[in-house]
Symmetry: C3
Subunit: 322 residues, 3 copies
């Protein structure tokens, strides 16, 4: 997610001698027009939608140089629906549902506290085909469907060493009745044509959930190969996910990307089989604005081979980052 | 609605070579103190209120030059009550209930998608007396009371040719059960002392609603004559609205404006008769701040001539735009 | 509460000739990690929390020079929880629950209208030990527990004369059924080593509530002595509060502060006795960022001497103002 910054000269209220700093107002507005089917045998609905390429959002972020290589950093960011103006709180108000944290960054790495993306979230979507957009058939993947990306009340540590980066996070449930803390770690590697990421999340609860994900890519220049594997365990049940795709640069401004996703259970209730695919074309109108068109569909079949769910989306849209 | 812009130099996060752009933080804070009667035989209540002259709001807007005369534009704007701080969502949170859109603007005109004011909304209030404030007796007009100004999920096209401007908008209901799409077009003319506007809105539903409005003004210099006609049809029922008023400039900073509004039904249930008037004095304290004082009252009588509703507002207030 | 300002050059949309002005985006992000006990015999809960030192908030404020020494001023400010991103509205959305007002400021003083802190709120917390943080044992004080700090629909006048400052505020309930208006005045004095404040608030209702508070401080240099007295009357019942503490500067960047609070009723239902203490260490990492650690506990005993409530908080945190 590239962002443009609004660098603002900050003048302390109490005098001209204070240090320079920066606060950034940033966001994404992403709208699409298309046709969507949600659920088995559902009629397709023509829609104006939000977030076809990236979810629409607004945020504030800033940093302050504390000296000695230490920086205070903060971020406040929330989603909104660009088609209706509605926010993400229960009552439809805007709030900082995505991120709200304060942290310290320095030679030791970065510690952030608050509503922070978990360590798994940092890397889980890094090698999704179709630009990790709404055209990536991801909802059928059980890791994606069941993981908690930003539970809040989180303490996180992240750092990088050369080609490697890593993070651990711990999210408190703040309830003594049942321990429902969430523990994460992730590690990433990127050098030359290769990227590779591994993440693990443990969601404590009455029945613990364990989520493991690996993804990677290899850039051949003409095409970039992308893929991922995932495993979701809850009690004795286990689901296995994979996805595989290609990015194909057609010109300096245009890239085509598509792929296939699948997930299998060995649940006591029977082995569900889920599969889907997606394809999207991205055209950069500028550094901060792109147009896109895409299609995705997925289906779920139960152990008897009967279809129990299906979804599809065809849309053309435009996204602006500021 | 004049707005002050905060022009911000935008430096792309990824380097100094990127194009200049602008993001604007803007808004209106409007508070009043006054006395309000709401409903038949209701006691008057002394109040601190919000939006006597214009509804209080905050927004972000921006644009990016895409080259070739093409611009990406976006706007995110929501209301709040300046007397209580409460926003417009169900739970009282702030959201972008007024506008949330992304669009493209160029020689071909402007296309916007999202939560956009309908084409009718663009011109419906252009020639209201009393500065289209809370002192314009508008609630009794059945077009105003029944039209949907920004239903969301809207695609809109607007353009202008010399003295003429026009827009069409289409708002999707996104529900296959009953078609409730909203279709609009409007056209405006402004040259010399004359302005004239026409708008039509079709609100599809179990029973279709059709709204038509015409308004115009003639500036004699000493006074400006303002007026409008409206028709609201739902099934076999029809209501006819009109309003007529005068703007009287008293000095370079002070303008008096007032007028009369009326509406008649031919509903099966009987012919309601509605009428009201309003008067307001506007004093510009600066380019961005004005003080105002005004009075308005209206009443509704049923077919038997019995009063069924009455409302009044007397207030003094101040409005600041930023 | 010191704030850093983002001074923005404002260019009016309608031309370059308009006056310079300023809009400020400001806020506080405050997170802590600690252990909290809430209620009698409650287990302690390990938490990531928000607002250990100051409540987390975001706001916009601005002013315009109207000429002749007159300024239009506005402020829009709301709380959020930095640990979860949630706002303060019923549905969890962000809104301007703290302040939303427009005002005029000049030689005559300052008049503000809207969601304004009452005159009592201006001074009530000025001499709380433990930096008026969450480590000040304040909830047991009946003035603090029962006063309304910003009821909204408020008209306020404030001014200062040399070492003296004062304010009166009136908050309308806007309901004719029961008069529940709130009336306030406060006066403050600060010169040399001495500060002193007095405030009175009358909360009209079915039974009127009367709140009186006095607080002061004397700075001996080596230590600063802080204290306050309060009285809360509702009908025939009366509670008396006091708190006493010390600020001890340990270095240019580090201050220790602590103290004791107590409150006694003479309620018909029996004399509750409440007491608590708190201590906090504040370390300034920079002008705008500070780290803190603190502990507080309080308890309530009924007329029979049985404990009916107890609370404690131990936390380490960091606060950033922007």
């Amino acid at each position: 997610m590239k962002k443009s910054l609004i660098a603002l000269a900050v003048l302390a209220a109490t005098g001209a001698a204070s240090a320079q700093s920066s606060v950034t107002l940033y966001g994404i507005v992403d709208v699409w027009v298309g046709s969507q089917e949600t659920g088995l045998n559902a009629d397709s609905v023509t829609k104006v939608g939000s977030g076809g390429f990236s979810s629409s959002r607004v945020g504030f972020q800033g940093s302050e140089d504390l000296g000695g290589g230490l920086n205070a950093i903060f971020k406040l960011e929330g989603n909104f629906a660009a088609d209706t103006g509605v926010g993400s709180s229960t009552g439809g108000g805007f709030n900082f549902n995505r991120q709200a944290y304060l942290g310290l960054s320095g030679g030791f790495g970065t510690v952030t506290i608050g509503k922070v993306w978990t360590a798994m979230d940092d890397v889980l979507f890094n090698n999704d085909y179709a630009f990790d957009s709404a055209f990536f058939a991801g909802n059928i993947l059980q890791v994606n469907a069941n993981y908690e990306g930003n539970p809040g009340n989180t303490i996180k540590y992240a750092n990088s060493f050369g080609a490697f980066s890593g993070a651990v996070s711990y999210s408190l449930d703040e309830d003594n009745a049942v321990k429902e803390d969430i523990v994460d770690f992730s590690i990433g590697y990127g050098a030359g044509p290769i990227t590779a990421n591994f993440a693990y999340q443990l969601q404590n609860g009455a029945t613990d959930e364990k989520l493991t994900a690996f993804n990677g890519s290899y850039d051949f220049g003409v095409v970039k190969l992308l893929g991922g594997l995932g495993q979701y365990k809850v009690g004795a049940s286990k689901s296995t996910d994979y996805h595989l795709g290609l990015d194909v640069p057609l010109s300096s401004a245009m890239t085509l990307s598509g792929g296939y996703s699948a997930s299998t259970d060995n649940a006591a209730a029977g082995d569900n089989e889920r599969s889907g695919f997606g394809i999207a074309l991205n055209y950069a109108l500028s550094k901060r604005t792109n147009a896109y068109v895409g299609y995705t569909q997925d289906k779920t079949e139960n152990a008897a081979g009967a279809k129990t769910d299906e979804n599809s989306l065809m849309a053309v849209g435009i996204r602006h980052t500021f």
